[in-house]
């Protein structure tokens, strides 16, 4: 479980996170939603420690993560996997080398054992016969899937996804969403996904946190989101014409 307590952060004199608290439970796909520039990515980067918070606390189980030094954080980071917005695959490495990288760095497995694990992870995300390809030779959807394979290579307890659907067509987005949901259940991970894709919200939203201007405005799940009274949330959720029509017809 990840627990975030009253975290705040200012960047360049602007308060980008204001007293945000949340609990993210294991075995669930937790979503952070909000429009572009609302502070979702900053929030996620604070949770994983890529940005240092000004105040508040971040707990990984019983460990106060934000007070740990680099070496102590390293132990928890070995239990983290992250899917970045642009996939963040290492350009100079092949698909196989990308997925093998954390295993090379942090395990004493033999080459054959590592290769077996790499192939298992790649098959799990439906990538086959692409071990020797470079990231530049992959499509956007394939890159995301390879990034997921790399993220789960070390069997993490925590998975973080920053806008996993960005730049993907609707069908591929659904595939990625399903993959994240299935892997979360399989490995009983605590998964946190940043998104503004409403399809993801309605499919995966077991727990949803809505952020606006760096503040948490609403918390609930996918069945509660359509009935919410939160004006800002409604403006976000029903921003497009189709969603508006659905709401009207529901009434």
């Amino acid at each position: 479980m990840i627990r975030v307590e009253n975290i705040s952060l200012s960047l360049g004199g602007r308060e980008v996170l204001k007293d945000v608290s949340a609990v993210f439970e294991p075995g669930k796909t937790n979503l952070i939603i909000g429009k572009s520039g609302s502070g979702k990515t900053v929030f996620l980067k604070c949770i994983v420690g890529l940005l240092e918070i000004d105040s508040g606390a971040i707990w990984y189980g019983d460990v106060l993560f934000n007070k740990l030094d680099f070496r102590a954080r390293k132990e928890i980071r070995k239990e983290m996997g992250m899917l970045f917005q642009g996939s963040a695959l290492f350009d100079s490495m092949t698909v196989e080398e990308n997925v093998r990288f954390p295993l090379d760095m942090f395990t004493t497995m033999s080459y054959d054992e590592k290769l077996e694990r790499v192939n298992f992870c790649l098959e799990r995300v439906n990538i086959t016969d692409s071990n020797r390809l470079l990231p530049s030779e992959l499509s956007g959807g394939m890159k995301k899937r390879v990034a997921i394979a790399r993220a789960i290579a070390m069997k993490p307890r925590y998975l973080f996804c920053d806008e996993p659907n960005s730049g993907l067509d609707p069908k591929t987005s659904i595939v990625i969403d399903e993959l994240i949901r299935e892997i979360t259940l399989e490995l009983n991970m605590t998964t946190i996904v940043n998104t503004h894709d409403m399809n993801s919200v309605m499919e995966n939203g077991e727990k949803i946190i809505f952020i606006e201007e760096g503040e948490k405005c609403w918390e609930g799940n996918k069945s509660q989101i359509l009935q919410s009274d939160c004006k800002l949330l409604n403006e976000f959720v029903f921003a497009n014409a189709l969603a508006k029509q659905l709401k009207e017809s529901a009434r």
């Binding site: 890529l50 132990e75 980071r77 963040a88 695959l89 290492f90 990288f101 954390p102």
Partner: protein, 248 residues
Amino acid sequence: MTFRFLSGFGAYWMLLGKVFSRPEKPVIYYRQTMKELVSLGLRSIGIVIIISFFMGAVITLQTAYNTENPIYPTYLIGLGARDSIILEFSSTIVALILAGKVGSNIASEIGTMRITEQIDALELMGVNSASYIILPKVVATLIFNPFLTLISIITGIAGGWIVGTTAGVITSSDYIYGIQYAFIPYYITYALIKTLFFAFIITTVSSYHGYIVEGGSLEVGRASTKAVVYSSVFILLVNVILTQLLLS
């Protein structure tokens, strides 16, 4: 302006602190260093040979035209070319050229890794990104740049000999006598010591500018330019200091 320079200077030394911390898995760093030896060292041989050959030729021709006097023996052309090449050209000028080639390459590579979140990915895995990315580059250039300097010295002197004799400004025997006359072996040591300092400056200054990039491709371009400018300025500054320390 002064504050920005000082805070940048402090950040540079702090980054170096991270770079020279204990590597997570030495075998991975060794492999990375081998890759960098090829990328930053072997792939620079071509340009070093071409530039050194022509610079050696020009130095010889200019020395010849400036010493066109019956008082001076012609072998002095060879001596002058040799000392110019060893003392200044093959260490400092080649370092400035490498600051352009290798420095911009390093800054743009690391800058791109930064803006495409590859460095964040490393950090998130618990890898010391500064050490993993920069240390192999520093080690590779410290190992290989002295060889580049020696290649440059040999090619420069050879260029001077070929063009000098072909143009008829000096005979082959005079040139060969000149390059052996009053030779001080310490000059080679001096050139190699300077090369080590310059290699360190090129890789660390360029890596620093790439590592701190924020924004997009435009900023990566700016970082690449800054890397070359700052590396060149520091090379020239350290050149003065080292010359005073080593030759006085």
